[in-house]
């Protein structure tokens, strides 16, 4: 059987970087091919070549055994290649039909839009693949999972045969992700072919028929989920053996570090986004806040770290009422904060690594004497932390913005964890990082816990929460709807809570879920 799509010797160079190095790839009709690789491995470059956004320097693309040139996304779709982007390309104030039609409008005689015809097609496609999308809904009213299905319909409407999914689960709840996998299954059963880009091992094991691993621009191996396990895949991806599970002993909670009582916070539009929340974090434990992004976690963290004022309620830190404290006062009490958006909040990108490493403490001895910055001390501090935290940087003067995401995050981790802290707020500490960096950062956080620090971990990645937390609080629409000890609970249970459903059965024991909860 000839593959439906074949890439031969694709090479793409950017100034100073070989992004794709003679990559060969073939996709058979009716299969799901997972393209696994760390961030920056060259997955996206490859797919952008396939999608016509880049031109390869060498190599050829064959669709149904015919050589094609793809100069634009339009060419790609004409060849039957479509892409579901990580960030949806939808217009919120348009209906599903209008969004799907956009760029490929069905028209009546006088040039008027034929919405009816398009809507019928959409309904037909939706029924055919069990997508359950109503063509007349407005995008803004739809949950993220459904929006993603609209993206899929867009491609099917244009009769794509090859569908590329770019990290499709990043924005979904576990349940929505399972839904998506079912849809992907039904798509391939009906003869479509899928390339599935991811860096999450579990998803590969769950859904892929075949796996190709890219590392540093080159294809390093091909396998099937049946032949491989997560460990071997991770090793292929990173190029060395990786510890998937953090060594985490039983926690020994000590005194109360942080307590939040009846906290209510509004966003800038005066909507209540944190609704009467109470929460306690003790020393020596990690409390994980699970929840789909946008359920008030950001505002909760902002309130606890002093970045946002609360409407009512009380926040205490180490026995002091810090509700009205400024961020600096809270920091000086012995609190550290790994912010959710490292580039926007945590770093000053054009500044050097050394300066970023003292961003919160530059004004104090020994980094400053009076108003005079002590650059020799700042440099020495930087060199030590670069060494201790394995930050890969040319030197301490390099602007942080030119480091990789993982190393940028290590700069923040180094800065926050190297201080004598008693409380750590880590908000999505491994967002968008590769396996190696995740492993490292997880270890550091657990290590801090073992030193007696209270940790509040916020992450939409359920795996991360289950991996690290001693107790799990689930946030849904501004409320904490459950706090459970992380012992013998299943992922499904937390997943349901994340979707706002409080299951009747409180805890189902599912050992495998706990053990395999990684990545």
């Amino acid at each position: 059987m000839t593959p439906i799509l074949e890439l031969k010797g694709i090479t793409k160079r950017f100034p100073g970087v070989l992004a794709n190095d003679h990559i060969d790839l073939s996709l058979n009709k009716g299969e799901i091919l997972a393209l696994l690789g760390e961030n920056g491995a060259g997955k996206s470059t490859l797919m952008n070549i396939l999608y016509g956004l880049y031109q390869p320097d060498e190599g050829e693309i064959l669709v149904n055994d015919e050589k094609v040139t793809i100069n634009s996304p339009t060419d790609a779709i004409n060849q039957g290649i479509g892409m579901v982007h990580q960030h949806f390309m939808l217009i919120p104030v348009f209906t599903v039909t209008e969004n799907v039609m956009l760029g490929n409008e069905a028209v009546k005689q006088a040039g008027f839009l034929d919405r009816k015809k398009a809507a019928d097609r959409i309904l037909e496609i939706s029924n055919h693949y069990n997508l359950e999308v109503n063509p007349n809904d407005y995008i803004r009213d739809l949950p993220v999972g459904v929006q993603q299905r609209v993206e899929i319909i867009k491609l099917l409407y244009r009769e794509a045969e090859i569908l590329i999914f770019d990290e499709p689960t990043a924005v979904l709840t576990p349940q929505e992700a399972d839904e998506l996998f079912k849809i992907m299954r039904s798509l391939v059963e009906q003869g479509k072919s899928i390339i599935f880009i991811t860096h999450k091992l579990r998803e590969v094991m769950d859904i892929a028929d075949r796996v190709m691993v890219i590392r540093r621009g080159a294809m390093v191996g091909e396998t099937t989920p049946a032949q491989a396990d997560k460990k071997s895949l991770a090793a292929m991806m990173v190029g060395r053996a990786v510890d998937l599970e953090v060594d985490r002993t039983e926690s020994t909670p000590g005194e109360l570090v942080c307590s939040v009582e009846n906290l209510t916070v509004a966003d800038k539009f005066q909507n209540i986004v944190v609704d009467d929340i109470s929460l306690e974090v003790y020393s020596g434990e990690i409390v994980g806040i699970a929840g789909v992004q946008g359920n008030g976690q950001t505002e909760l963290v902002n309130a606890i770290t002093g970045l946002q004022k609360s409407l009512s309620g009380k926040i205490s830190l180490l026995g002091e009422d810090v509700t009205k404290f400024s961020p600096r006062q809270i920091t000086e009490l012995g609190s550290a904060h790994v912010p959710e958006d490292r580039q926007a909040d945590g770093l000053v990108l054009p500044f050097s690594v050394a300066e970023n490493l003292v961003l919160c403490t530059y004004y104090k001895e020994p980094f400053a004497k009076g108003v005079l910055l002590q650059y020799p001390v700042i440099l020495k501090n930087a060199e030590k932390l670069i060494e201790d935290f394995d930050i890969r940087t040319p030197n301490a003067f390099t602007p942080v913005g030119s480091l990789s995401g993982g190393n940028q995050q290590k700069v923040i981790i180094a800065r926050e964890l190297s201080r004598p802290i008693k409380f750590l707020v880590a908000s999505q500490p491994t967002r968008g990082l590769d396996v190696g960096s995740i492993e490292y950062i997880h270890k550091r956080i657990v290590q801090k816990r073992d030193e007696g620090c209270g940790v509040l971990l916020v992450s939409p990645e359920l795996d991360e929460i289950m991996e690290l937390s001693d107790r799990i609080a689930v946030m849904y629409r501004g409320k904490i709807i459950a706090v459970v000890p992380n012992k013998g609970i299943s992922k499904e249970y937390i997943g349901l809570l994340m979707a706002g459903v409080v299951p009747e059965e409180p805890i189902q024991f599912d050992e495998t879920a706990v053990v395999e909860a990684t990545f």
Partner: protein
């Protein structure tokens, strides 16, 4: 695909990606930073030359006769113009060398006067350029330098003529300081408005400019008018004790103010890059969200930055009054406040860059006067050249593509500005 080739590719990747410590940072960073402005200046002068040629009547006439003649006329026109520009700005090399050989002190001074005069022209540019650069570094677009300069000049003038009986070593610094304070006040107001109400500093500094212009007009024709000026808007002449001394007898105007400008540039560099205040300002200027996260007060920083920026602009006005004009009239500024924005950008908002760019602008201005006299090329051509240089500095991609420069791998030292209605 041979194995060898694949390995080579991986080796290269390893080299570039994995351990950059050994490969990057081998080039001197300064050259990289200076390359774009230098090439922009060269390109600006070349385009200026083309403009001189195509706006010249005689070139057209010569082309009417023959193409060869046309080209030779064009080249000679350009040659004359740029020679005049050069001798006007730096001096006549032959005369300078002769003067150095001789022992006529007056001839020596006069031979070098064009160069010294260029430095005189550069002095207010340095202050004003630093004002804008400091604003940029702190994330603020101070477009009100012109107004702050006028207020600074007015304050310096007032202290300069109204106070009598002080020794020079007190009076002169006092008048200069008064100028700085006046400018600082004019910067403080929009800074305060921005920090407390979010009112955009671009709008408010423009408004403050107009208030400053009308206020000085009123002052000069009213309370501060020179007795017996017959209603002319001009101030009394300042006291001898308030004067910033000139080094040589008239007509050479080279004065201490130039060195004061250099000293202030050094101070600003020290403040920005060596003190916690400077780090504070730069952090707020570059990433206000990270600044808040780090516990800095953006309010304080914005007010401080605008006041300091205004003070520098006020010094530009003060130095012109105390060192050169010695009294205030409305024609005080030839657009220093607005040119200073260009200066700050060309100088990459770094004090050293600003000083160099200011000397360039001062030199061009000074030379252009002579160019106009000798070759009847309008002084405006210098404006055009300056504009072209600025354009190329602001759009480095053009220069890079003309000269096939590689894009620097390191993140460029950008100027970060909070956009319209953005951060406040």
């Amino acid at each position: 695909m041979s194995e060898e080739k694949k390995d080579l590719g991986q080796e290269i990747l390893k080299e570039i990606n994995q351990d950059p410590a050994t490969t990057e940072h081998t080039k001197k960073p300064f050259l990289g930073k200076a390359a774009i402005p230098l090439l922009a200046i060269v390109t600006g002068l070349i385009i200026g030359a083309l403009l001189i040629a195509i706006t010249s009547q005689s070139v057209y006439a010569a082309f009417g006769e023959s193409i060869g003649k046309g080209f030779s006329t064009a080249f000679s026109e350009i040659g004359t113009a740029y020679k005049a520009l050069f001798t006007g700005a730096i001096g006549d090399p032959v005369r300078m060398i002769n003067a150095l050989g001789g022992d006529d002190a007056k001839e020596l001074r006069q031979a070098f006067n064009p160069f010294l005069e260029s430095l005189v022209q550069s002095t207010p540019y340095i202050f004003a350029g630093l004002a804008v650069a400091l604003g940029f570094r702190s994330g603020l677009f101070n477009i009100g330098v012109e107004g702050q300069l006028f207020i600074g000049a007015a304050c310096a003038t007032f202290v300069g003529y109204s106070i009598t009986g002080l020794p020079a070593w007190i009076h002169m610094p006092l008048a200069f300081l008064a100028g700085a304070l006046g400018g600082a006040l004019w910067g403080f107001v929009p800074g305060f408005l921005k920090a407390k109400t979010g009112g955009h500093e671009v709008i408010n500094t423009i408004m403050m400019n107009w208030i400053a212009f009308r206020l000085t007009e009123w002052l000069l024709s009213g309370p501060m008018t020179r007795p017996g000026s017959g209603g002319m808007p001009i101030s009394p002449i300042i006291q001898k004790t308030a004067e910033i001394p000139q080094f040589f007898p008239s007509p050479i105007r080279f004065h201490l103010g130039f060195f004061m400008a250099l000293a202030v540039a050094y101070l600003i560099w020290w403040l920005l890059f060596k003190t916690t205040w400077g780090l504070n300002l730069r952090t707020v200027g570059t990433n206000p969200r990270a600044a808040r996260y780090a516990g800095l007060s953006t309010t304080k920083s914005i007010i401080l930055a605008m006041s300091l920026s205004g003070a520098l602009a006020g010094m530009a006005g003060a130095v012109q009054i105390l060192a050169v004009n010695r009294s205030m009239a409305l024609g005080l500024s030839s657009g220093y406040g607005f040119d200073s924005i260009a200066l700050a950008l060309i100088g990459n908002t770094h004090p050293v860059g600003v000083v160099l760019a200011s000397i360039l602008f001062g030199t061009l201005r000074n030379g252009a006067t002579r160019m106009m006299v000798v070759s009847s090329i309008p002084i405006d051509i210098v404006d055009v050249v300056q504009a072209i240089i600025l354009m190329f500095v602001a759009a480095p991609a053009i220069i890079r593509s003309i000269y096939h420069l590689r894009k620097p791998k390191q993140e460029e030292d950008q100027i970060f500005l909070s956009g319209w209605g953005g951060q406040s």
